[in-house]
Symmetry: C2
Subunit: 447 residues, 2 copies
């Protein structure tokens, strides 16, 4: 069945539904910066297109939230004590420290540096959070607006406010940016939907100059290389090693890089400050994708069935690449220790060994052959929560229990108290009987 | 959004898909009798309509599987040692014993009678099973047919062959005939989809005579009463108590009953041997549904938002009614002890207290407001398994482990063995050192 086409029709049906049914709602958004915002924006634009009123809370320190680039969304800006530069610096320090200085095994073992990094990151966001909730004018305005739903990116502390378990319990619906093409199957609750890859779209034509460069690769095709938007400080030595390896392969290479042009750059490699990544990965000439393993890029590669070389940097990127390696669609390299021969061997393996392409194509099949497109499912559940003021029937009642009820400590305590009382009574009775009869008996005998 | 209408369009899209994409498959079905067959047939008819070749294994003892009523399905009949009467008798004895003689708490405590009942039921089905697999001609024919998928009703032992855990592990996909409108949310694996109510359809017009009777109820409306297809032996006393209670209410009553007409039958009550249950429950005059709590009837009531009086008899009916009571959409009565005032009070409560109707309407809303219709999801996953020869990406890898691997006994055993070896060596070394130095030292001292 051509499942790919099915949701297009659904989309047409649903586009007008909110107007027709009078179910247009008001959505308040607590967003996040960088790639998280790019992903969230896909959902917000879709909601706005369907007729919902979408209001995004925008701290004045915001780096990525540009009202001019999102004409369909309303932005509720408010002043913050941090400046844009402060926040950008905090983010970059957080990421760069994690990439270059945290011990490799720190996810499993305790690392004081990792804790420090998280505390400073968390403090920056907490400051934005305080600026929001202590802004009485803003709070009054928001309360008067009577929103139907709060849609929050839960990675930032302010998106959650109080503990993790409480937050999970409070949300009506969780939309998770992955699916079983990326992760391994595990039990999950009915109020969790896996909508990974919701941003993937059919590839658009490339700019003419880029298309000419790609076509010039002939039968060898091209390699797309990008370590995302957060990495700017690669050492010259590392950049040279990478450029050297790229120069050895017969493919043409499009490399997203904004450092000093490496001396070893080959004639087959072109450097770009930005790449139309989705369109490139959907190009029939693309043979492999060198990626840091961010979820957006990974899903574009899965969507189009492109094998990967993963160079994970921080966050869940290590997990993402480990999944892709386990599923036979990627080779993993270590960013800190990478040598030119590591990269060259990995490129040759991924491009020449057909199993990587076959496995990537299978992931693409799984991804595209779902009962309903991820974006449509995400929109459905946000609209559902608005329509019905929640989705209580999907939330386990365990969320309503306190921690001691959850672990049955109240029941265990009650039973233990009874055991203690009965034991006490039995011992007391035995002692009483012993004293009354045995001792009295002895006494009488002695008398 | 008018979700109810969305799937109609989907259906049109998908109706032709199997022909267009050349993905028409061959489906082999291991069915079950009575209401299970009625429910399964909805999926099979839909598969056949979409162009798949559906072959149903039909024992000659089959009671409900009538090839003439299913012209779109192929039936592969085979002789069995049991006759149709034998099987029917075994079923009825099984059900009647459970309804009338098993202690009420036997689901929680051990009951020799319940075990006996299950053993006799299981033996009947095992005999059908043996007749199937030992029929060499049939087996050769089936093997040569190269089916794409086996679709089995797993309630009958032969649908499973070997243990429960193994069976769950073997199936690529499980379609469960319930949803969170009926059950309470709990964790579930990605290869399980909840498709309860897949048989519900918009109500068709009633036969003229029945419609006239329903309309004659005026503003009071009607009550629909049915204890399903398996109950025929109600005592005269019980039938009289029921008829008396029904005679007291201002509603008209349609009662599915094929015993002797009770003396106390009121003029407002009409007895029918069969009722168009879905069409009646979808009739705007219907106020309440008296049901044994079979999943098909419960789902028709949920679909149309009709409050219920549950008189559960056997199997999961007790659970179903308990769920409906917990969700405020039903009152439960005990079939063994039911009195006329019990029924009258329950009828008055369910019809006059608006909370029952409100709760039933909320369940109807949940049921009808899903991202995709249950029948379409069921068909999607069967077609998925055919298209891709499985759905391995949804199956947890734990299924591939042996029981001792699952419980990590091999790891624990290995570690314990090492602890034992090291303990042994340490003790031996200590003893050796003691003998060598301490004893020798003493000896020398003594000398």
């Amino acid at each position: 069945m051509p499942v790919k086409w099915m949701p297009l029709l659904l989309l047409l049906l649903q586009m007008t539904c909110c107007f027709r049914s009078g179910n247009c709602g008001k959505v308040l958004v607590w967003p996040m910066e960088y790639s998280h915002w790019l992903n969230l924006k896909i959902i917000l634009d879709e909601l706005a297109q369907r007729g919902h009123e979408v209001t995004v809370l925008r701290p004045s320190a915001s780096i990525f939230l540009d009202p001019q680039k999102s004409p369909d969304l309303k932005f509720e800006s408010f002043p913050t004590s941090l400046s844009k530069d402060d926040l950008d610096e905090a983010f970059r320090w957080f990421v760069n420290t994690w990439i270059n200085e945290i011990p490799r095994d720190s996810c499993l073992s305790y690392s004081p540096l990792l804790q420090n990094v998280f505390e400073i990151y968390s403090d920056s966001y907490l400051s934005l959070c305080k600026d929001t909730v202590s802004n009485k004018q803003l709070m009054t305005k928001l309360q008067k607006s009577k929103f139907d739903v709060l849609f929050s990116d839960a990675i930032a502390p302010c998106g959650e406010l109080t503990t993790l378990a409480e937050t999970i319990g409070k949300a009506e619906m969780w939309l998770i940016r992955s699916y079983w093409d990326l992760e391994f199957p595990r039990p999950t609750l009915p109020n969790v939907d896996y909508v990974g890859g919701l941003h993937c779209k059919p590839a658009k034509p490339l700019p003419k100059e880029m298309e000419d460069f790609v076509q010039s690769s002939g039968e060898h095709g091209v390699v797309v290389f990008s370590l995302g938007s957060m990495v700017s400080n690669m050492t010259e030595e590392k950049a040279n090693a990478i450029a050297w390896a790229l120069a050895q392969i017969p493919q043409k290479v499009l490399w997203r890089f904004d450092g000093k042009t490496p001396d070893t750059l080959g004639p087959n490699t072109r450097i770009f400050k930005w790449l139309p990544q989705n369109d490139l990965l959907g190009h029939p000439k693309t043979k492999a994708f060198v990626t840091h393993g961010g979820a957006n890029g990974i899903y574009e590669a899965i969507h189009f069935g492109i094998p990967m070389i993963g160079i994970p940097l921080f966050g869940e990127q290590h997990d993402n690449i480990a999944y892709m390696v386990a599923k036979g669609a990627a080779v993993a390299l270590n960013f800190r220790t990478i040598t030119r021969s590591d990269l060259l061997n990995a490129l040759e393996a991924v491009i020449e060994n057909p199993s990587y392409k076959e496995n990537a194509m299978w992931l693409s099949t799984i991804h595209n052959d779902q009962p309903m497109k991820p974006l449509d499912r995400a929109i459905f559940w946000i609209e559902f929560v608005m329509r019905h003021k929640g989705a209580k029937h999907l939330r386990p009642l365990a969320y309503n229990l306190t921690w001691y009820q959850y672990y049955s400590l109240d029941v265990i305590g009650f039973l233990l108290a009874w055991v203690a009382v009965i034991t006490f009574l039995v011992i007391k009775s035995c002692l009483f009987i012993y004293q009354k009869f045995v001792k009295t008996g002895k006494k009488m005998k002695n008398e």
